[in-house]
Symmetry: C2
């Protein structure tokens, strides 16, 4: 049986934006007994200790997770996959293992191979930022956000309950979701916007070859629509690799919509074009009032 | 010869976000002698008078512009075109006629037909917002923005000087630009982002048909990339109609970039994909540090 969160030792592997903010949120709310941070670089651990968001810092994974009741993997997706492969024998019996990677199918599949004494749960808090790193971490990052949880069939209800307790402790709302369904949804609402943002910047780059003044005129509209293009590439590449099929499906849909818009404009069918623009505006205003 | 701005009566036709903010900026800085606002609805004029951003309000165009030294047309592009066709005989000799429409070729072409006693200049301040209306107006909207000016060949240097004085008075930076060049540039940095934003919302709409949970998961990335889809449709339709060819060219470029990204992902050519993502990220961070 897992202990209640208040008595738990939590180990967070990776102290970037997500892991650092999780440590900050848990420590600000004194939600657990002890927080151990695991990071590659000693300087990251020193910073986290100075910020008082962890009680102990370790560069060695085994040393950091040995006593943990709850371990959270908060590195890019492919690093999470590598950690899952090695972490099983390092964890004590009943330890709940969570990750906060952006795709869930590949990760939950890898979690199936964990030894039976581990309680694995895939997770994904919906609070992306184009910034990264501990310097951008903030205790309120998870406030009011949806925090997806994907327990495995083998995961004990008590383990899920501990994860839900942690999610609520950092101010987020737990939502249990099947990994494949999660991946299809984030392909549409997160990975597609990223690729459209990338396509916008690459298009402007190409069009600027004819007129370098272009960048000087770029205003707030371009800034917002291209914001995601500044996202950490290593992180996004892991996402593209581990969520390829759903992203390709979302891309095909967007290519179709873009082709329709271009077609209507080329044919000067302005009433059909207007109907499309109105429908999109209506929907956007409903989703973000 | 036009009077200096401090002695000028300025008439602003249309008191939406752009016209209202211009009135607010000029009045806050006491930059001109008198500001007359022209709007269709008396309630708009009453609001503008109550906000003390205009000295006088008129629903009748002729009455509003009769004494003006500088007239600014601040309505959607096709309304500007209609006003240009009728306004010539209503203006006093030497009157400088400016517009703040989002496309410049069609407008500057229409301005060619104005009677010789009018001094026409196309203009476009680069400070779009997805909001509209007088309620959203603010005196600092133009602060530090590029304010494109497209004088006609016939425009007197003194008329351009008055326009530049007004631009600087509201805190913006004048940039003299050929109308065709302006239109090609804004097609890439303003109208293309709008259509990508529309395509994103329409794609999500389509993908949500299979799973309505999609909208509940949409987070900040989707919000920013789709923000422009909330822009006033009447305004955008005018832009699409009057800047069709450059927008189609920008759309074709974006379709090409999107197809390349999809192709690399489908073929699992992750090193080429990574190079594209890195190039876009680099450029985005240079343009908006």
């Amino acid at each position: 049986m897992p202990v209640p969160l208040s008595e738990a030792q939590v180990a967070i592997v990776g102290l970037g934006l997500m892991g650092g903010s999780l440590a900050a949120a848990l420590s600000a709310r004194r939600a657990c007994r002890r927080i151990v941070g695991i990071a590659r670089r000693p300087s990251t651990l020193r910073t986290a200790l100075a910020l008082r968001i962890i009680h102990q810092g370790e560069t060695d994974l085994a040393a950091g997770v040995r006593e943990a009741d709850l371990v959270v993997l908060a590195t890019p997706v492919r690093d999470i996959l590598a950690r899952i492969a090695e972490i099983g024998p390092l964890l004590k019996p009943g330890c709940v293992l969570l990750d906060v990677g952006s795709t869930k199918r590949a990760i939950c599949q890898a979690m199936e191979a964990l030894p039976p004494h581990v309680q694995p749960i895939g997770a994904h808090p919906m609070c992306g930022k184009e910034t990264s790193g501990l310097a951008m971490a903030e205790p309120d990052l998870y406030q009011d956000r949806v925090f997806v949880l994907s327990p495995l069939e083998r995961t004990a209800p008590e383990a899920l309950a501990l994860a839900e307790e942690m999610v609520r402790a950092v101010g987020a709302r737990p939502l249990v979701l099947d990994p494949a369904r999660h991946d299809a949804l984030v392909a549409a609402i997160s990975h597609l916007p990223y690729l459209l943002s990338i396509a916008l910047v690459l298009s402007a780059e190409r069009l600027a070859e004819g007129d370098a003044l272009l960048w000087a005129l770029a205003a707030s509209g371009f800034r917002d629509t291209s914001r995601l293009a500044a996202t950490n590439v290593e992180m996004m590449l892991d996402i593209l690799i581990t969520n390829r099929e759903p992203i390709l499906a979302a891309l095909r849909t967007a290519q179709g919509e873009l082709a329709t818009l271009a077609e209507l404009l080329a044919q000067q069918d302005f009433s059909a074009l207007q109907a499309k623009l109105e429908a999109a505006r209506q929907r956007r205003m409903e989703v973000f009032p």
